[in-house]
């Protein structure tokens, strides 16, 4: 009798172990868009780690769209181009989040008024001292977002918002 009870307990332990826990089956943590740098495109606020579907819905059809299946089908990497702005996404648990926002030319600017061609001094005047400054880049961080200004000949040559929450 004792043996039977012990065996039943062992089986119950196995089942409990197998059935417990959540449904976390791999991958990364949930991305969030709070307390990050934000960019405004056609009146729509876009931030890294924000869910892309509602943003895409508000922005309407992109100028061009590209998608590629990640290796071993871990989701689709998507690239939306809206005029002079490129938004790239990353998949997580079946949802696409904003990975990066790139400003391609001087027809668009950050909410603080910096655009390609702006003097380097204007960047520091608007954003303060960067967390990292090299000869060719000024890097700012807020929450999980990184805002990078590439600089050539003392002028901004590229502007990119990127997520540090997403594995690149």
């Amino acid at each position: 009798m004792k043996k039977r009870i012990a065996l039943m307990l062992a089986a119950a332990l196995c089942l409990a172990l197998a059935a417990c826990g959540g449904s976390n089956n791999g991958g990364q943590g949930q991305g969030g868009a709070a307390d990050t740098y934000r960019f405004t495109l056609k009146g729509v606020e876009v931030a890294v780690d924000a869910e892309m579907a509602p943003i895409a819905g508000q922005l309407g059809d992109p100028t061009s769209y590209f998608e590629s299946e990640s290796c071993a089908f871990q989701g689709m990497d998507k690239v939306y181009t809206y005029g002079s702005v490129i938004i790239r996404t990353y998949p997580q648990d079946g949802v696409d989040y904003v990975l990066s926002i790139e400003l391609m030319d001087d027809t668009v600017s950050t909410p603080e008024g910096i655009r390609i061609g702006s003097p380097r001094a204007d960047v520091t005047a608007s954003y303060g001292e960067p967390v990292e400054a090299t000869g060719t880049a000024l890097i700012y961080e807020k929450g999980s977002s990184t805002l990078t200004f590439l600089v050539e000949n003392d002028q901004v040559s590229a502007i990119t918002y990127t997520s540090s929450a997403a594995a690149s």
């Binding site: 976390n24 089956n25 089908f73």
Partner: protein
């Protein structure tokens, strides 16, 4: 009485272990249909003959070079020890692991993954590491690869990781509880379908184009290990253009190769010479080659290998010929099956993303 209690205790312990073992076998992903990349690393241990050429790296090796074509055209015995998003440290430890079983004449490493300097994703880690046999190489590979959310103990006892996978169980989990089918051809992942390359988005500008110190240190370790074992290491960049391979990265690899007296071949500018036509030689819009492209690539690369290294043509050696005859038959059989599906359904249904259970 005491003896009886001991026997009862032992029986309970054994029953518990058996139960946990079976649960673990059931719940760990099988990677047999659709996402087969997780089966690649363990398939290597089923090889019965050695190889003169061993390729390591990510999808840019296991999808772009036909090992059977290398055999058929040149008699080269090769194996691709590839896995999805195989990071530089994983390549190093997989190489170290492979060298326990054989010493190839040439090791080929594809450099794209050097752009990653830190652990990236548990899902990919699992595909590269779970299939390794336990050894110090596997332990070090896990420790080097884990993301912050991962725990070493879950690699030792995968049940702790996958215990909640009940709702994801599929027929493969039962069918392949104890045995697995081969999913590659000496490491080559076959796709015969075609989706033309039409263009890629512009590459994102980077604040820093320097390849990471951590990743480069493992390239150095691979170089040193090969040198120590008398193996020739060849660095390559596959001919596919996306994800973007920056010119600055290319220069760094070329410098590394020069400093270490290694050959480095970037195949992107050689596509015309290879005969690649990205309208028909890719199955996913230019990210990877299809079988037609991989066979062209193997013909071109095989000629380079034969010309520059002292490789044996094993086609007339019975021990190898019979093994590779089986491999070739399996290769042709899968190729025909894929073509049949394309003809019948207009797309692959038993392979790739359409087959994911």
């Amino acid at each position: 009485m005491k003896r009886s209690a001991l026997i009862s205790g032992a029986a309970v312990a054994l029953a518990t272990i058996a139960c946990l073992y079976l649960l673990q076998r059931l719940l760990v992903p099988k990677y047999q249909t659709g996402i087969v990349e997780g089966s690649m690393v363990e398939e290597y241990y089923r090889e019965t003959t050695d190889h003169e050429v061993l390729c390591i790296g990510d999808c840019e090796v296991y999808e772009n070079f036909s090992t059977v074509t290398l055999w058929e055209e040149y008699g080269i015995t090769s194996y691709i020890r590839g896995s999805a998003q195989q990071l530089a440290w994983q390549s190093y430890y997989l190489l170290e692991d492979a060298l326990r079983y054989e010493t190839p004449k040439v090791v080929v490493y594809n450099v794209l993954a050097l752009k990653y300097n830190e652990p990236q994703s548990e899902a990919y880690n699992r595909m590269s590491l779970d299939g390794m046999r336990w050894s110090s190489s596997k332990v070090k590979g896990i420790l080097a690869s884990m993301t912050e959310e991962e725990h070493f103990i879950e690699y030792v006892f995968p049940l702790l990781r996958y215990h909640s996978r009940w709702d994801g169980l599929a027929s493969d989990d039962v069918e392949h509880l104890f045995t697995k089918d081969l999913v590659t051809h000496s490491g080559y992942y076959m796709r015969v379908d075609t989706k033309a390359q039409t263009g890629f988005p512009p590459p994102a500008p980077l604040a820093d184009y320097a390849l990471g110190e951590n990743a480069m240190s493992y390239l150095q370790k691979m170089t040193d290990l090969c040198r120590e074992k008398g193996i020739d290491l060849v660095l390559i960049k596959a001919p596919t253009e996306y994800p973007h391979w920056y010119g600055q990265w290319d220069e760094q690899i070329a410098s590394f190769a020069e400093e270490n007296s290694l050959p480095y071949i970037n195949y992107i500018p050689l596509r015309e010479e290879i005969g690649l036509d990205m309208r028909v030689d890719t199955y996913d819009g230019g990210l990877h080659l299809n079988t037609r492209g991989a066979e062209k690539m193997a013909r071109y690369f095989g000629a380079y290998l034969k010309e520059n290294y002292d490789l044996t043509d094993y086609r007339n050696e019975e021990g190898y010929a019979s093994v590779w005859a089986e491999k070739t038959a399996f290769y042709n059989q899968m190729k025909q099956r894929q073509y049949d599906e394309l003809e019948q359904y207009g797309r692959l249904v038993s392979f790739g993303s359409n087959a994911i259970q």
